[in-house]
Amino acid sequence: MSNMNLTLHIWRQKSADDPGTFEKHQVVANEHMSFLEMLDVLNQTLIEQQKEPIVFEHDCREGICGACSMVINGRPHGPLGGTTACQLHMRHFSDGDQIWIEPYRAKAFKVVRDLMVDRSSFDRIIQAGGYISVNTGQAVDGNTIPIEKERASASMDAAACIGCGACVAACPNGSAMLFTAAKAAHLGILPQGEVEEDRRVVAMVSQMDKEGFGRCSNTYACEAECPKEISVSNIARLNRAYLKASLTSDL
């Protein structure tokens, strides 16, 4: 097990109104640690020195909850493709590295403190239309509605979105199109969700605009940084669905 000495430049910001600045820290990490465990080690040291620990968000640490939102060396979730920060291991860094760690930068994601941002704008997009209206009652039998494998797979690929917000952080425009598109697609592709698609896409896009996210300019930086590798074909699908809903529905 080899240890490495790292110099961390970590963003410290007390609240959304505080301008914030980078703070330099030294940490000794071993290659088997995850990135978050490395931060835990640093925080333990800070606590022992009676200093304020670094605030960062985390939950499952298994790459499925989307909480570990941070930008490492300019890239959301760090240098490894298709990986969340919690699943990024220190073996991908070398002894003596300088690492810059900062929060997601977008007007719609206000910094709560240090590396933690408020992503409740995503929740409000879901609340606007990212659901299927089903009357409660007895669950229907499985496979009552036949669905082609291709459709089921396309829906599952979109449903892999963990709502981490890396797409917004990666986007030079701070746009939430990949998130909104994935959430609209995983429901809209399936017959159960197709029924409400017009109302759903209009409501979700309106909410997305209201939250102050930027406009998609098809740079595809989101797809490159998405830890779940969600395809930008979902964005085209949302464009298509929104165009259809706006021009042909009663809405």
Binding site: R105, A169, G214, T219, A236
Partner: protein
């Protein structure tokens, strides 16, 4: 809110405006470039001058050209508004300032667009404005053509003797090329046209189109300058 207003002011509706005006301008460029290839006809400007006369007097083309001016304005104004809104939505950038996975062109469409617009003002001021609103151009008559036409060919050939004008044109065409490489495929994505069968084809056609159109435009000033 009225559905048309809602659609046109939504983020996706704004992209549709950019896409449709962009596609119209792409079609225009093909016509403009192929028509202007008559500059290379080596007939003292006869075919080019008669073509220019036709393009500026045919009523149908006059109507289309109003659509063209409207498209240019709409594309430019909407593009600048989008870029400003996006800058506001992003706020500050990350420490490295680099965006992984995105091409330089895709991140600088507004800058390229402003360069193209500046070039366009110069270009239209030199030829289009002089032809339409002044009588600075000489009139020439050709055998077999019933009336005298403005000699825009001479103006073009004189302009392209100047090195700085040639350089400005080549830079303008280069900015256009970079803008088109991203813009062509982006126009289809914004309309929701994305398919694993067709997207690679669209990208390929975009590249071929960009190379053909911009090299066609680049040849014109070079032809006169090197003569």
């Amino acid at each position: 809110m009225n559905w048309i207003t809602r659609f046109l002011t939504s983020s996706l509706g704004q992209k549709v405006i950019m896409s449709l005006t962009g596609i119209f301008l792409i079609l225009f460029l093909a016509v403009h470039m192929s028509g202007n290839l008559q500059l290379l006809a080596n007939d003292g400007g006869r075919s080019f001058n008669i073509y220019a006369e036709f393009m500026s007097h045919n009523p149908l083309i006059r109507i289309v050209s109003i659509g063209l001016y409207a498209s240019i304005l709409l594309h430019a104004i909407q593009g600048i508004l989008l870029a400003l809104a996006n800058r506001k939505a992003k706020g500050s950038t990350h420490s490295t300032g680099k965006v992984a996975g995105a091409t330089w062109a895709s991140k600088n469409m507004a800058l390229l667009g402003i360069l193209i617009l500046a070039f366009l003002c110069l270009h239209m001021g030199d030829f289009w404005f002089k032809m339409r609103f002044t009588d600075q151009l000489q009139m020439v008559s050709y055998d077999g053509y019933d009336h005298a036409v403005q000699d825009i060919y001479s103006r073009v050939s004189v302009a392209f003797q100047e090195l700085w004008i040639v350089i400005v044109y080549l830079l303008g065409v280069f900015a256009l090329a970079v803008h088109l490489v991203h813009g062509f495929q982006s126009a289809f994505q914004s309309l929701g046209i994305h398919h694993k069968k067709y997207t690679p084809m669209i990208n390929m056609i975009g590249w071929i189109y960009t190379i053909l159109i911009t090299s066609g435009f680049a040849i014109m000033p070079l032809y006169f300058f090197l003569q």
